[in-house]
Point group: C4
Chain length 332, copies 4
């Protein structure tokens, strides 16, 4: 029986397509229609729209921690005004006379507006639990509404605390990719290469990179999407203090072998990049993605050095903004 088990285990490994092969199409499938669009955008998002997911597919927390800060602040302010507006309505229904203090707005305004503002200010003072007491609730109903509002306020700020923490603690690695990928001379052949740098002051360690090339190929049954991983000179670095130039040597096995810029355009070539690393500050594994399309390639160029040793301090100085710089180089 033990023997049988070991066999069935081996069969798994000998299944028609090995597990590693799965990384060849990256989950995009091969039946995608011809399109000049990228599959992966330069910011790492996918060129895919998901529709029909229904209400269950929406996750408010996920929404709140991924929207930009401007939208987030707007959402907080709108929420604050809406909630206070609603509770003001309730206080008015329960009778504004149950809120002590005289509504003296110091401006000329209709009575109902003064009343509303009186209730609105009380609501703000209750929701934020500031509770000056210059306005205070009277009677059963108004007191109960105020008690509920203070509870809601605390719950809301508990939630906002969580969202703010979530926004901040997301280890969004700021790996900067060179704008262009180069076809550069490499040893006695050429290589496809691009450069990355950590823009943040935190340390990324144990980085690894995967580069997959996608292109169209004409088959009997029309065009088909093809995928191939590009073997790299080095797939991992232990530390990332400077920059990292990721290099795919164009050997005869490479799908880039003897290809011209025109060939790549005809093939609609896209180079999909995935880099993962461990963020030392946030103690999290972070992933970044980007892609280079055939028109993002610069041929016959090589990257300029971006670090030098400072003579005075003996420190290595890295110039982040030079990551894109490259100069002419004769291809082999």
């Amino acid at each position: 029986m033990s023997e049988r088990k070991k066999n069935s285990q081996m069969e798994t490994n000998a299944s028609p397509q090995p597990a590693q092969a799965a990384y060849q199409d990256l989950g995009f499938g091969s039946r995608i229609e011809r399109s000049s669009k990228r599959m992966i955008n330069q910011d790492g998002s996918f060129n895919v729209r998901r529709i029909g997911g229904g209400i269950g597919a929406f996750h408010p927390y996920q929404y709140l921690i991924t929207i930009p800060w401007s939208k987030f602040h707007l959402a907080v302010v709108l929420f604050y005004l809406t909630v206070n507006g609603l509770f003001s309505g309730l206080y008015i229904l329960a009778g504004v006379h149950n809120l002590t203090g005289t509504p003296s707005m110091g401006m000329d305004m209709p009575h109902w507006l003064e009343d509303f503002l009186h209730a609105f200010f009380f609501s703000m003072q209750t929701f934020t639990t500031v509770g000056y007491g210059s306005i205070s609730p009277m009677g059963f109903v108004t007191n109960m509404i105020a008690g509920v509002e203070a509870l809601c306020g605390l719950m809301a700020f508990a939630l906002i605390t969580g969202v703010l923490y979530g926004r901040f603690s997301r280890a969004t690695a700021k790996i900067r990719y060179s704008k262009e990928a180069l076809i550069a001379p490499y040893q006695n052949i050429n290589a496809f290469m691009f450069r990355t740098i950590n823009r943040r002051q935190n340390q990324l360690i144990e980085l690894s990179a995967v580069v997959t090339m996608a292109w169209y190929e004409e088959t009997e049954s029309g065009f088909r999407q093809k995928f191939a991983p590009l073997p790299l000179e080095r797939e991992k670095v232990a530390l990332f203090p400077l920059s990292w130039t990721i290099v795919h040597p164009i050997t005869p096995d490479s799908p880039l072998y003897r290809k011209t810029p025109e060939d790549l355009e005809k093939m609609n070539a896209e180079f999909m990049i995935m880099i993962q690393g461990y963020d030392d500050t946030f103690a999290q594994i972070v992933h970044t993605r980007t892609s280079y399309k055939y028109f993002d390639l610069a041929w016959g160029r090589k990257f300029d050095m971006i670090y030098h040793t400072d003579e005075d301090s003996g420190m290595i100085v890295v110039e982040v903004n030079k990551v894109d710089q490259h100069s002419h180089a004769q291809l082999n």
Copy 2:
């Protein structure tokens, strides 16, 4: 000595049943009595009840972050009312006259109820730290109770903040499984397959799937539960932008080979699915489980395409709600 150590290490690997084999019964054991019930429910929970664990087995935080939102809100409201009720009692014991302000409820009610409500409103204003001051404590005892209540209030909301964050940050992947698994034609044989899609807008990456078949087999000593992992066409995908159809080709080694729907019913077949992936937004590994019972299989069907390229935008559009759709296909 170094030699001996290496040997004992090897023996570990050569132990009667290899470590990987452990995945064959998934921890369910083989002595389970015959039952038509599933082992794993479609929502991924186990059909198992644990009793006699005692009070130490209960973890309030775990309870509070896993109950549905409706229950959670109910729990908060009940807790709020209970705590305020208890502190109201204490204020009454310490003398309501130590709470300034006149209890004018604006309704006709007995004196003791007015007093209770006066204390209750003060309690709410203290517990939420809103503290209008329209009611304020006097005397040593009442002041101390109020000081304790305000502390309790802050602790309670600290706790609720943590629970809310816990609820939100749990990376509950919303992987949608097709309602039915199919027996579909595949290359020149047939295959067991089902389809999954990410309902959320977040990105899942590095997904891997394990499919285990469980069935009854007649042995000399009665029926026994059997388990076998089903080798998959591909066990991993690097990205999950579209849908992923997980395919087990029914080769002669498969426990499904030449089985009819009737056979599977007699075997009480269950297909247990485990998928894990890395959630890009929450930086967490997420797991989902489901199972297909023999009656969840559709024979001689194939899945319909659910994505197409939008002509205008060039984007790939995925229709999530079509994940269940399949149509007739001639089996091999």
Copy 3:
């Protein structure tokens, strides 16, 4: 050069003691003096005291999230009283007359105590930000102190929020180990085995176990501590819905082969257990440890079944409190 690199890599693997061998002494070293004490206590802590670490070795957060709840609550109350006591002193120094309201404690007490309590109550109302206003600050100094105290209060509760979340979200797996390990018949030999069960309602998945035996051996240079990993029938289970009996078959290679209870006592044998798993609720990897000493072994016993299928519901019912039960079994 590439060749050289590959070589130096291989040498690493061919270093005198292979990396896996490191697990043989578990970090305890072999020069430990003879002692009847356990190395690992049954609750998983080490029988080791670290001294001379200095003040830098103390981490208040770590302390606050690992102490029992009773100690934690005591610490909060003491902190609350101390801080309010200190600020009361400051208010008295700045002049109690700068705190409005009359200190009417409703009890007979000396003037200085009334003043102190007046300041103390104001301090509590400020620190918790409840701020009724029945007592309020006047003058520059008192107002500034109050402003600082309110800030301190908010910071303190921010901190307590974090500590409470930390306490709760620590995924303390409640894996229950059987009180005794058994020497039980197993197939046609005997085996060392113990049973584990998850007391919590959460799901643990992908469990793996490591068992190391430690004993004394007489060498020329006196007694030496020896360590050996015990190969297990299965080192991993994918799911953990029921119980898991971890079994080390006593083959001729086992250090337990043909040993009697007396032998093990003379060897001062200790079985150190490490189990790790993934907690589905907290999305964390959890570790537990325990140990069995030679006197924790029961010879010629086998574990009783602790689960059965409920006839009515078809559910599997696990009786957690039966995890320790075993009955007589003839050894081979």
Copy 4:
């Protein structure tokens, strides 16, 4: 096709430089100019300055959780004063007469300063939501400003809560490295070794260490930076209850073979250490780094024992402050 895929997979593994080789230069590159500076400082930071990253490279949360506590508290106090100063200005613009209560500072001061302080105290009471009510807002504009300030206050403290939690929950392992690395006798050869100890009371488990030697080598084209991993006697320990002495035996393959202190100085040798482990309390993987420069080596020394068994309690006692102690030993 399946065959082709397996091939291209193998090619990946057969790429010019194997992936593991990448760890040889640790990401520092080989074109670094000659410098007597360390690459890795003893506290684990890199001797690298990144410039030109622009504003996007700054991450306030990362800054706030990595600065020392003194700076953090200063930042909070400055922020508190600044915000209250700004809002005071707004209240003065809206008219101080809209803040009830008389500004009686109890000191002789100009009118404008009294007004400012009145507004400042109201601002503090609003921002912290303490809201005594002794000063309270009147009129539309002042009420709205106060409502906004209370919201800002709550948001700010939500944020501070998150930052405090982030500061505390960062699992900063306090692994103490011996001040010097030793060249000590080891079996019948010598070895490079250093000692580590966990200063904290938490448990670190599954530790692994990597040691890389960096030095200059004269080539035709000038000096070049060289890197080589040093094979270790044991690269991993399962538990870390005592101390761990990490040992690189100086075999003929070692770059240290037959080197004298003078050789290492000429080579400008640096030993870069990386240790990672799993923190049992924080459920996180932690990394530490350090380096030994050639002048941090002590030749012909061996480490003194730092633990002994306490006769009374039977416990093992570790003396953390003895981690640096070593005594004379004859080299082989």
